[in-house]
Symmetry: none
């Protein structure tokens, strides 16, 4: 009969993103149109064939130039030696490659991780400890064996999407499981950060609160003028010589310090409590918490930021205007953060989404060297599955929304990197006061790996 479906023209149209999943980034080797993971890396059909051929018949390619030719779209001539070199540098290899269908969650996770690796070929190739490939290389389930594993047993099969609809009351076990996990995460968040829910449920009062902060700032401004612009150096000199606190900077520091100590304590408690984290060794937990600090805060408190009024505050935060914050941190960076918070607001995240996202961003395995990367990777997979399930049942465009969320996650990571630098500067200037706030200090001192 008709059959005859799939054929021709597949590749030409892959350029356009598919709606149901996170979009595939371009070929890591040549920037052409990618068609999935090949030998462990997202590449185009051409680079895939090239690499396969290279493995097959060990051609001794020689670069005619300096071994650093750019590999662009290879439809035009390219240096084969450098192309192959780049393939290896990106981690392409024959072994441990995944086969068969991906669950949506796994696929999403793999792509996100690949994206977060952008422009890091060399590092990876040098360090040779490529955790980051875990997810699409030999993700394999050893699971089975282990008796322990995560709150919710094994069953890493996960939703399957597809049916998922349950208007009739009945609900498959897996769905129940995911639903429970979501509820639990939200509850944990509610318990540890009871105020966060208010940002979702009382947006008007939050708005008023922000206006008040702004009001107070204006009054202060009128009383004392705008000449608060004492530089960090000037301030420290005055303080050293006179012991005075000319612009309440120290008071603010202490406020912030106390607030952060409490906040961080709750982060730790959150991690202790949420499903799956209990079984992770504490060294890894500590690393994960430190590495995701900025993002974890941002996705919890983006609604506490008002980029128009340039204020930030809430019942569980230190209220402050950007002019206060910039006494400690780079104003540019603060503004970037505010802009980012704005973009999150536009997404209109729900509290469930927020809790799930925060769980996901806690469990990126490629932020640092971990003792149990697979375990944590599987955990993240679970959270991603929950998010996908939640979107499928609560959004009319789940694929698009998922992509949008992961796009934000991606951007947040780059901000997070900036934050580490900013924190270094902060510590340099204010480290002499930090000893009273050990948790904060530890958080600030995190500089990348360990």
């Amino acid at each position: 009969m008709k059959t005859s479906t799939n054929q021709g023209l597949t590749t030409t149209d892959r350029t356009v993103t598919t709606y149901t999943t996170v979009p595939l980034p371009p070929c890591k080797v040549c920037s052409g149109t990618s068609t999935g993971f090949h030998f462990g890396v997202i590449t185009c059909e051409a680079c895939k064939a090239f690499f396969r051929r290279a493995l097959l018949q060990k051609q001794n390619y020689k670069c005619a130039k300096d071994d650093n030719c750019a590999i662009t779209d290879t439809r035009l001539g390219n240096c084969s030696a450098c192309r192959l070199k780049k393939c290896f540098a990106l981690g392409m290899s024959k072994g441990g490659v995944r086969r068969g269908r991906y669950s949506i969650a796994l696929r999403t996770k793999a792509i996100i991780e690949a994206r977060s690796l952008e422009g890091r070929e060399i590092i990876v190739s040098m360090s040779s400890s490529s955790y980051s490939y875990e997810s699409h290389k030999a993700v394999q389930q050893k699971t089975k064996k282990e008796p322990m594993d995560i709150s919710d047993s094994d069953s890493n099969s996960l939703l399957e999407s597809e049916d998922s609809k349950s208007p009739t009351g009945y609900m498959p076990e897996e769905e129940v499981e995911l639903k429970n996990l979501i509820d639990t995460l939200v509850s944990c968040q509610d318990i540890m950060y009871p105020h966060i829910r208010k940002y979702f449920e009382n947006k008007e009062s939050v708005q008023k609160y922000h206006e008040q902060i702004h009001e107070r700032y204006k009054i202060k401004q009128e009383m004392f003028g705008t000449e608060n612009n004492i530089s960090t150096e000037e301030f420290q000199q005055i303080f050293a010589e006179t012991g005075l606190d000319p612009d309440d900077r120290l008071t603010m520091f202490d406020q912030k310090g106390r607030s952060m100590e409490h906040y961080i304590q709750q982060v730790i408690n959150f991690a202790k409590v949420i499903p799956g984290f209990k079984s992770i060794n504490s060294r890894d937990v500590a690393k994960l918490l430190k590495a995701s600090h900025y993002e974890f805060w941002m996705f919890g408190y983006f609604q506490a930021i008002d980029s128009k009024l340039q204020v930030c505050g809430g019942e569980d935060l230190v209220d402050s205007h950007i002019s206060d914050m910039s006494k400690f941190f780079s104003e540019d960076f603060i503004k970037e953060g505010m802009k980012f918070a704005d973009s999150l607001k536009q997404l209109q995240l729900s509290i469930e989404e927020t809790a799930l996202i925060r769980a996901i961003l806690l469990t990126f395995t490629d932020r640092c060297t971990l003792d149990e990367p697979e375990k944590i990777g599987n955990l993240q997979l679970k959270y991603i599955s929950c998010l996908i399930y939640h979107l499928q049942t609560h959004s009319d465009q789940p694929g698009k929304r998922l992509a949008a969320i992961f796009d934000r996650l991606y951007v947040a990571r780059s901000l997070s990197h900036r934050n580490i630098e900013v924190n270094q500067e902060f510590l340099h200037s204010w480290g002499f006061l930090i000893h009273e706030y050990p948790l904060w200090k530890e958080m600030l001192a995190y500089s990348g790996n360990e």
Copy 2:
């Protein structure tokens, strides 16, 4: 045996196999039998080797005559100097040549473009802006960065056909995408030109309509005789002297003018709405619309023409007999158009094919100088993919049909060139009345390149 396995095309038997694409035109240099693209141009083996050799050992050929010898498909007697010159004039060059296999759509596009260049060597070589080689030379998209591109993605307009999935329910994503694009194009056409569909669905009533027009013409003819043959000059003289409209010419002009204004407005709206066009800058859009005007109309309204009765008309057109039209345009040209319309009718184009063809002919990048030729080229590739897909699923001889369609497109382009000249004459004679119809005026004023 049977086993329906799929090839590039339908699989009646396995005999078909061959990728019946558009036939390859003869060698651009010597008119011999071509063997594909060589150094960017469709040539024969001989010319390919000749050009390669010429690049290798830079012989200084000298023409014994006047540097304009004809190059023929003979083994001996070709002037090497002129042959090489012609090679260069046609755009042959070593750089940026495609490697590897072609996708069906790309190959089709490349050949079509090559054909449309016939007899234009010199122009191309002078302008040195050889857009037309884009498709087989470094077509590729740098895309990557752009949030980009084309079609579906948001589908912010129009029905978008949500379901659209055919009887059997499931369908691979890529196919769904192509199908959606086709549906969307058809819908756009339906919305902007609601009457076009009637030409497809009520051929009998169209036929009757045409007969009525002819009837009226005959009646008028009997009443007033056939001596309406006042020439343009005579008419204008009478009009200038008396202000009279002896043969209703001015009334017809106004009718036509109003009709065209509306039609062109719908062309613009069509372009605003169809997937992919939204992201093209308006300067390019304007150029494309103007350059394809004639063809776009023809492929939309060929069924409104009856070459036997020599009439043209429909609900959204100005009904007229050839004797009316020839008051404004060259009768020869009108007859050519009618003949062409007839050939289109014989093809029995479906409404989907029509919509796709119209999208394709809007996006030829070699009609004029464009700001974003690659983008538009990629867009056209998309439309061509859709057409190929549609033919594969709806025609029993997709390859043949594709070739036939592109053959018509090719002929249409030459008519389009004639049309530009005809329009110049028209403007010359009737420009003094055109100011009330600014869109029409702009369309008519188009003379090739901006």
